[in-house]
């Protein structure tokens, strides 16, 4: 599993992707993440899969630097994820956190934080996520799918090199989900590294280039997507794909 991608010190910085090394996290005596080590390639879509409570969202937060692990190291292109480094990353949460402002003000906020002054960029982003002409509407009055698309537009406004998404299409209608998947494919093709938490197996099949599979805070396998869905390395993953309920 650890050999799927070479460890980053053998590569140039630009070729290095996201490296998690010995990530462990416990709370109140419960181990939530247990010695997770993997090296994700610098491009493509990595799907993080597993049953509820596997630690997928937590791993995403640790990788993005929102939560400090008790032990271990997170490196992006060979460097630790500092506050400054995080500006080259973005995250879309399962429940979109929108500011109490208009649609366009939400995107403007992200552009301003990223120091980007390009008046037409905001409209281009809103157009891209299907919110053209909704600029002045209060963001929180949008439907769930629209809110998630706005959150994605805001994340893309910072032009991230690394994009984390925590179940972005959970509870969305198929149209919104497909629109988000299309944008993720475009971003991947444009060179953005995407780490996507999902327990939607068909979605992972459609999008993923490689898959991390976790249960109970334990990384069971890291495989390229084709082989994962064909012959998963771990029996837990095989049971999960077969539709069994994992504890």
């Amino acid at each position: 599993m650890r050999d799927f991608v070479d460890m980053p010190d053998a590569r140039t910085r630009h070729e290095q992707g996201l490296t998690l090394s010995g990530i462990s996290l416990s709370r109140n005596g419960t181990t939530l993440l247990n010695d997770i080590t993997c090296a994700l390639p610098p491009s493509g879509i990595t799907a993080v899969m597993g049953p509820n409570g596997a630690g997928k969202s937590l791993l995403l937060r640790v990788a993005h630097g929102l939560i400090d692990a008790d032990q271990g190291l997170v490196l992006w292109q060979g460097d630790a994820v500092t506050e400054e480094a995080r500006k080259a990353q973005a995250m879309v949460f399962q429940k979109p956190v929108l500011l109490r402002r208009s649609v366009e003000a939400n995107v403007d906020f992200a552009l301003k934080v990223a120091g980007i002054r390009h008046p037409s960029l905001r409209d281009a982003l809103l157009n891209r996520v299907g919110l053209k002409g909704r600029n002045k509407q209060p963001a929180r009055l949008l439907s769930g799918g629209e809110q998630q698309r706005l959150a994605l537009a805001r994340a893309l406004a910072t032009n991230p090199k690394l994009l984390f998404l925590d179940e972005p299409t959970a509870s969305l209608d198929p149209t919104s989900a497909r629109m988000i998947e299309d944008i993720l494919r475009e971003e991947r093709d444009a060179g953005t590294k995407i780490v996507l938490v999902t327990h939607d197996v068909p979605q992972a099949r459609r999008l993923a280039d490689d898959v991390l599979f976790l249960t109970s805070g334990q990384l069971h396998c890291h495989q390229d997507a084709a082989s994962f869905f064909q012959t998963p390395d771990s029996p837990e993953a095989a049971r999960f794909l077969a539709g069994h309920i994992l504890n």
Partner: protein
């Protein structure tokens, strides 16, 4: 009582210059005090909302306790500082509207700081991860929270103004209730009632209540509009 109310109504409607001088001074003093207290209190409240440091709980306890500052104690402290023999006596501010503004500012700043801290901290619970994801600085977080919490903070400013405009103990000590100089609605009501001049006291009381109703109505209307637009 009926005659007094009738005379009070006449005073209000006739535009009695003495009465309106008192009303305008009251509004000027309390609005300036509220503005200064908002600048200081919102800065403190937002800083506390986004900061975690050793001793923070103790700071919160102190600020919350200061919300109940007795006005006469504030008046006394300001008096001692501004009196001729006090450290700030050289400024010559005692028995001026400025002294009253200082006293009211001291009185309501903790109210604004404590209430805004609670509102902004609740908001920050919602936004914190997103702000961290953006790599937003502490100042950036404070500014964003203040802007997004602006409609809820209007109520806080209103609470501060209400406390200031209704306050009598501190302003009578540092202002002295001097006619045409430092006489405000509350001190005038206290004086006229003790003199038995009920019409003027009642007229001022009616205006004070009307101001409270109008300001509350305005803030409520703004908040309702904001809530409908999901901005509050």
């Amino acid at each position: 009582m009926g005659d007094a109310l009738h005379l009070a109504g006449q005073l209000v409607l006739s535009g009695d210059p003495d009465l309106w001088e008192i009303v305008l001074l009251s509004l000027r003093v309390s609005l300036i005090a509220t503005l200064i207290a908002c600048i200081i209190g919102l800065a403190i409240g937002s800083l506390l909302a986004v900061s975690r440091f050793r001793g923070r709980s103790a700071v919160l306890v102190v600020i919350n306790a200061l919300m109940g500052l007795p006005p006469v104690v504030v008046g006394l402290i300001v008096y001692l500082n501004l009196s001729r023999s006090g450290p700030l006596g050289f400024l010559g501010l005692l028995y001026t509207p400025t002294a009253m503004i200082i006293a009211q500012t001291i009185l309501i700043t903790p109210i604004i700081a404590a209430l805004s801290r609670q509102i902004l901290e609740d908001l920050n619970h919602e936004y914190a991860e997103q702000f961290r994801s953006f790599g937003l600085s502490r100042i950036g977080q404070m500014k964003a929270l203040l802007w997004d919490g602006r409609f809820a903070l209007l109520t806080v400013a209103l609470a501060g103004f209400g406390r200031a405009v209704a306050e009598v103990g501190a302003v009578i000590i540092v202002g002295g209730n001097i006619d045409h100089l430092t006489r405000v609605m509350t001190t005038a009501i206290a004086l006229e009632t003790s003199k038995g001049d009920l019409p003027l006291a009642l007229a001022l009381g009616m205006i004070l209540l009307t101001i409270a109703l109008v300001v509350n109505g305005f803030v409520q209307s703004v908040r309702s509009t904001a809530t409908r637009a999901a901005y509050a």
